[in-house]
Symmetry: C2
Subunit: 239 residues, 2 copies
């Protein structure tokens, strides 16, 4: 077979950067390939989760305290919408009705969104930022067991924290204007990480032996929590 | 000067389809080039309008009666978001802060969105469909007086009724399930067209002599109302 990349590959002997995911987690990236559940339920769950994040962000758009923040958040909402639409496209390629695939996951994810929705605009924003960051991160570690081409597409599509700079800027503006906000958000961020881990664990349900799984996923959670801590640190909040 | 299109033009002598806009309005398309207001206020108004339509659609997403409708409406919301983002990109190209350009138009458009928001999910959807269709149509007729390249981009960007098929399908499903809905929606559609014309007229404010303008825009409104009537007809509603 003719190898389209043969020549190009041979030329690459300069030192190269590590892929971003490895950089982010410093060292060997632990993945959850062996725990990946069946393709359709996995895609259905991720599609519904991104839809729920999109809805949360659109509420944040509607309730934004000024037009500049509103305008900025539409970009974040647009990025999340692209994630949702990308996963839906994968389902359609498999001739699966997206609504049917998402349906089983709606109640738990709706409950989760309510739980992490916060009491005001800032808590809502921090909730979206931390939970979506955590779970996008988690989902990209589960794609390893999927068909290779699909896994590649999903890994690019679901990259965590895309367009999060707008959210970070809005939170920083709020904390600068109200000195009590930071400590309230720090508490809130600590609470969120617990609930988010429960959702992540439930995503593994049905993928095999629960007791065995626990042992395997522990190091992954250590990584995910480290990333969560970095997000909190970035905002000047103690995790 | 070298004419890039000289050769290609000479080859086109087979009968061609009329451009879509002319087909839609049967006959010579009347435009509002001479009435086009200054570039920045025009873009600011259109950008805010598309943002408001996006927000209305995201409310419709959140309140959708089922997951299939919800999923479908996210596409419509995505299309409208692209319109907003495209206009914002034009403002940024001009080194204009989008929020500042939009600000003056926010109160009137917010009032309009409230007025046309409807009492339930179906009225909300019909409101978005008819008012956005009417005003996108109206705005594309005003681009003629803008710098040529920008006008071209906006005409493509703001094409009315893009992704409206999802909204039409949702309305048809609703009317099939509830025989009283059609007559209520027909009344609602008739009311909307009046309010929408007022907004369109206010978009012409500041563009010159009001009395003169009235005379010139009359035929355009006749066209826009004809398109509105076709949208209503398409739903089986008497306009």
């Amino acid at each position: 077979m003719f190898n389209w990349f043969g020549k190009r590959r041979a030329q690459v002997d300069a030192p190269t950067l590590k892929p971003r995911s490895e950089q982010t987690f410093g060292g060997e990236k632990i993945d959850l390939s062996e725990l990946t559940p069946d393709v359709v339920p996995f895609l259905g769950q991720v599609a519904y989760f991104e839809l729920a994040v999109f809805e949360s962000l659109t509420r944040a758009v509607s309730e934004a305290p000024n037009l500049a923040a509103k305008e900025g958040l539409t970009s974040s909402a647009g990025e999340v919408l692209l994630k949702h639409q990308g996963v839906v496209a994968e389902l359609r390629k498999l001739k699966v009705d997206p609504a049917e695939a998402m349906e089983p996951f709606a109640p738990a994810i709706d409950r989760f969104e309510k739980l992490t929705g916060g009491r005001d605009w800032y808590e809502m924003l921090l909730g979206v930022y931390l939970t979506a960051g955590f779970l996008d991160d988690f989902f990209t570690r589960m794609v390893g067991g999927l068909p290779k081409a699909m896994a590649k597409r999903l890994e690019v599509l679901l990259e965590p924290d895309r367009a999060a700079d707008v959210i970070v800027a809005a939170l920083e503006t709020g904390m600068a204007a109200d000195p009590t906000l930071a400590s309230r958000l720090a508490l809130w961020g600590r609470r969120l990480v617990g609930d988010t881990q429960l959702v992540a664990r439930s995503a593994l349900l049905g993928s095999g032996n629960q007791a065995d799984d626990e042992e395997r996923i522990e190091p992954v959670f250590t990584d995910l929590i480290a990333a969560h801590t970095r997000r909190m640190d970035g905002l000047g909040l103690t995790a």
